[in-house]
Symmetry: C2
Subunit: 319 residues, 2 copies
């Protein structure tokens, strides 16, 4: 059921032994939310830990700074930036049906937790975590500011995209005043890459192809590209925006080959084309301008079914 | 001589027939500053126009929206975001020695105007224009907000770089509240490219080479690359940050071939390496983390003298 931020605040103050769950294939927002909340709770003497489906990608490990690791059994389960329990990932299955509080900003949030606070106007879930910490009257230190800032920056493409609001900028301003290492964070999140990553990105750029008179562009992160450039899929990041950079492209898609016949598809769209709706057709979801889904089958088959549906989808929109 | 913002405000109120000069190779900040101020002055019944060394690159022409074009003789000359008269460009030579008010944020600003207001803590000159319009009690409408926002975003890499301050974010928040088309602006400034530009960027990425154990990386925008990808130099934008994205690079340089034997060099550096100081050796200048200079000679010669000096420069810094 829906709860107010005040109610969530009371629940957190009255409980202890928090497990904070993030979504799988974690990003800066789910991890930033998790570690910001975790550190804030630890600082008032609560036991708290962030639980992930798998290891945290190295670019995000700095978010763990200042968070104590301790063993304890869960007394209260919180999910952050998780729209649906299925997104917790296979290794967190044991928590399905056991989430006490869900804090999220996805429009498509499923009503899976005992209590939920979903603010779709928040550009990032860390924006809500900021509000929650204010409500709880908890002090935000530099490390918590780093985590909150990371969520704001990563979910908005560094304040570039339409989901940014004046409030996002106001909170960012406060995080800067609290000493957030924003320039270093942004460099790590958006710019820094190894030579191998740089080479991989060149292969990926070369893979771009166009459909439907240039309205759809697709890039491919295949197992072959990863192998010949010697990098891991987890380090190929922030490329989902690449296809939509080309003038005229309404839908940009990134096909990440997870197994020989399994592709994780990230979709980015122009205003007026709902990425979340498009991905829902394939059992996925997300936001209006950025969403994702998983398709199984050979690359050719998957591509054909995706392109076919996009054609139908755009036709319905008269685009 | 130095003037306060209050004095500048009075000067603008008491004078008329403004020529607002931008720097050559104009960017979003000099043009955003120029058009924001121009429109604000026109709105209080003053004659005002923005004067550039050459045509405005097409990606910036939207900044002219809502600005009336009218013919009149200059009564009062203002320069915006111009650190030195030599940067006005060859076609604005007639204004050298005739600038009444200089509004700028460059540390290396030369004392060339009758009155100057230089705020080096401002991330962008449009940040100062915002302060000035507040001081003059002029209303900021949506179009002025677009121009102010454009300067903020372009000079900070969309709030990514160290020069961003909490005040930059606060002013950005106000521009969003005033209706600035920030997402469309950011797309135009940072992302959108034609297929030809995309291809040119791939050639440029391929050109990257490394010196001094990977501490210096250089990319080349040669006349040859421009020709074979069919694009104009003016549309190859925002690539100066590319070399410094590679882990370990302290100095990233972009060599833009202007003529067979003339190269405009853009330098981007890590904290602790002063790009402005480095470029001053070659007669250029700029900011601590982003600066430029022009070198003449064959590519090989120019490259050698640049690499040699960078080596000396880094040695002096024990890097």
């Amino acid at each position: 059921m829906d709860a107010s931020l005040g109610q969530i605040s009371t629940l957190l103050k009255e409980n202890d032994n928090f497990y904070i769950l993030t979504h799988q294939y974690p990003d800066g927002d789910t991890l930033g939310s998790g570690f910001a909340l975790c550190r804030a709770l630890q600082k008032i003497g609560k036991k708290s830990k962030v639980i992930n489906n798998s290891a945290i990608p190295s670019k995000y490990t700095f978010l763990r700074d200042g968070v104590r690791e301790e063993g304890f059994k869960p007394g209260f389960v919180i999910s952050v930036d998780v729209a649906d329990e299925s997104l917790l990932g296979p290794n967190l299955k044991e928590y399905v049906g056991k989430v006490d509080v869900c804090i999220d900003h996805h429009k498509i949030n499923k009503d899976f937790a005992k209590y939920k606070y979903v603010d779709c106007t928040a550009a990032a879930t860390t924006q809500i975590i900021y509000d929650l910490l204010q409500k709880m009257e908890l002090k935000i230190d530099k490390l918590i500011a780093n985590s909150i800032y990371t969520g704001l920056a990563t979910d908005t493409g560094c304040f570039k995209y339409q989901n940014t609001t004046s409030r996002t900028h106001i909170i960012a301003a406060r995080m800067l005043d609290l000493g957030a290492d924003f320039a270093a964070i942004n460099k790590t999140m958006f710019d820094l890459k190894t030579k191998k990553q740089f080479i991989a990105e060149r292969y990926i750029a070369d893979s771009m192809d166009f459909y439907l008179e240039g309205k759809l562009a697709i890039i491919y992160v295949t197992l072959d590209i990863l192998e010949k450039s010697g990098v891991d899929d987890s380090v190929i990041d922030g490329i989902a925006g690449m296809p939509k950079q080309i003038a005229g492209v309404l839908i940009g898609a990134t096909f990440r080959q997870k197994k020989e016949e399994e592709f994780k598809i990230s979709v980015r769209t122009e205003p007026g084309v709902d990425a979340s709706l498009l991905c829902r057709h394939f059992g996925g979801g997300g936001h209006a301008s950025a969403a994702g889904c998983v398709l199984k089958g050979s690359l050719e088959k998957v591509k054909m079914s995706f392109v076919d549906y996009v054609k139908e989808f755009l036709t319905k929109l008269n685009l």
